[in-house]
Symmetry: C2
Subunit: 361 residues, 2 copies
């Protein structure tokens, strides 16, 4: 029989590995040599396959659960698999339609958009879907309003250019100078429009003496309002849906793995940090690979060593303002899921830009 060149050999190995992973993803059970020999794409005997699998195991792509079980892909194998999925072949039109239908109905507010998005992700993937709301870090103040509530409380309403509305009560010990409300509001709007949220507080406190031109009263008033309104608050607006889905998977039978996972989902703050970290590292500089995949131990959090995270970001203009994605088992249909996440990211981007731009822009 003809001698195989090293290149051909490697190529075959790769094909075999893909077959193993593919099969394992489908069934979730360790896959043995006999089965693969049965499939038509590889035309080899079980014995040969065994040899190759042996190699792959030595190179760290496969493992045995125990001596006489089939092979199971390692994280390294998944990584290889995902990397080779550059194609990202278009979803069948049908599925694309499905996404639209499921998602596009009645979203008018940011809040609804987030809710709808996480739910859609969860339903279509059958795993856990999440979205982070447009981050305060990335947004700029567009408008600010001070609404008097009573003699010693007023409500500061802040609207960001991403369409997110935040509000905050400002409480005074005694009655505040009501007549200064409007002038202050004007000043604030003048100075703050377009400022990134993160800096708004310091900038303003730094330059607040400029207000002094008017009145001594105003100074204290302005300072207090600023302090309170822009005090760092609860962050981590993250929407999670379908946490239950993931629990019904066979691989999470042990109550230990399971609890870990729920713990992650429970601690939304932590989850938010994790996701932001994932996307924060390399800024929007790199021509973005659109969809990122973290497999098992590649994740920062050890609690997520048994799951994979597929995420993408959505943008407003050219700023990436939020992240969305799904959390599922390591063995999942990566190509479909990556597509789903990708589509959703685009959908959200579109929706967001239209919402903020208004219907006529």
């Amino acid at each position: 029989m003809r001698t195989l060149s090293t290149i051909e050999h490697e190529e075959r190995k790769r094909r075999l590995l893909q077959a193993v992973i593919h099969q394992y993803i489908k069934t979730g059970k360790p896959v043995g040599s006999a089965f693969l020999a049965g499939g038509r794409s590889l035309d080899l005997s079980p014995a040969t396959i065994r040899n190759v699998m042996g190699e792959l195991e030595r190179e760290g792509y496969l493992t045995h659960p125990h001596t006489s079980a089939g092979r199971v892909p390692t994280d390294k194998a998944y990584r290889f698999y995902v990397d080779s999925l550059v194609d990202l072949q278009r979803l069948a039109i049908k599925e694309e339609e499905r996404i639209r239908q499921e998602h596009e109905s009645r979203i008018r507010e940011i809040n609804e958009l987030m809710l709808s998005t996480s739910k859609t992700l969860s339903v279509l993937s059958n795993y856990t879907g999440f979205v982070t709301a447009p981050g305060v870090d990335q947004s700029r103040l567009q408008h600010m309003e001070l609404i008097p509530l009573d003699a010693h409380r007023l409500l500061a309403v802040m609207v960001s250019d991403t369409g997110v509305v935040k509000h905050r009560q400002v409480v005074f010990e005694g009655p505040y100078p009501r007549e200064l409300l409007e002038p202050l509001e004007q000043t604030l709007n003048q100075r703050l429009r377009g400022q990134p949220f993160t800096r708004v507080r310091e900038t303003l406190l730094d330059h607040i003496e400029a207000i002094h031109q008017r009145q001594m009263d105003m100074l204290e008033f302005a300072r207090h309002v600023t302090e309170e309104a822009f005090a760092p608050g609860e962050s981590a607006d993250i929407y999670v849906e379908g946490a239950g889905n993931i629990l019904s998977l066979p691989e999470f039978s042990g109550p230990d793995d399971l609890r870990q996972l729920v713990h992650v989902l429970d601690e939304k703050r932590a989850l938010g940090d994790l996701i932001r970290e994932e996307w924060g590292v390399q800024g929007s500089g790199a021509r973005f690979p659109a969809v990122r995949v973290s497999i098992g131990s590649e994740n920062r959090s050890p609690d997520m060593k048994n799951v994979s995270l597929i995420s993408s970001c959505y943008t407003l203009g050219d700023r990436q303002v939020g992240v969305l994605g799904i959390i599922g088992p390591k063995r999942m249909e990566y190509s479909r899921m990556m597509n789903l996440v990708n589509q959703m990211a685009q959908a959200v981007t579109t929706a967001l830009n239209r919402m903020v731009g208004g219907p006529h822009e």
Copy 2:
């Protein structure tokens, strides 16, 4: 031996039942006659105890998991047990302190109050804690503001007397008459202040012709704003914390029970309805029993047949505006938990009233 009167007999039975439940709550394992005989409070032989337990079983208070296991309390037994816990003896001062400390720090906004409350409940109980935000049904509109965003969008901000702020974008097809903003705002505030939220929409739409006095333009404008601003939106503001806690309990080992439960917690909307229903039935009319307990099958939802729900409501003035509580296994330390929930309800009531009333009232 002396004859026992029926009364004495019943009394003993009761004591025995309590002992069984108590023990089962502690250990989670079926309790047998021998064990109870060992305890000093009952001074009876195992045989006698068996007899009595037999009776209790026939009356539906106890069951066998299988022929030769100890007895396990039924829902009926738990109900009995809870009903007999009228005492609600004060928590040890220490624990009361703990609640204060854990909870009272830095809550200034309703949102933070809710967050902090559910978290506190969860941490102190080690189960799952929840709070429903002050219901829209129970609140009245206190103030309303219309903030122009751009040529065809404005933001309606509504403040309820419970301190909850809602906002909503109103989008116009074309530009709206900006000069009518202030008059409309005034009119709205005049007519709507003090109206219950639930009715605000119809009332206004009914009487909207009254505005007609001014201008024809105004009519359409006002109608559109009203429609959009008060359109029924996402309801179910419910905060849930510590969903993970409950999963680590031995009784939820089977993935089936477990998934049910997570499902409930996942579907916050459903959970909210459930809870509201629980408290909606008999209005605030009855001198309120402060803390309510639903055990297993007493719950409306079949998904909750394996857990108990301990809840109480908090009030603003004399209106009960929200519900809080914990979800835990049927076998839990009812007296302690009921106390906890009770305390928390009082704490939230205090905080809420102070917040809304302001620091000087």
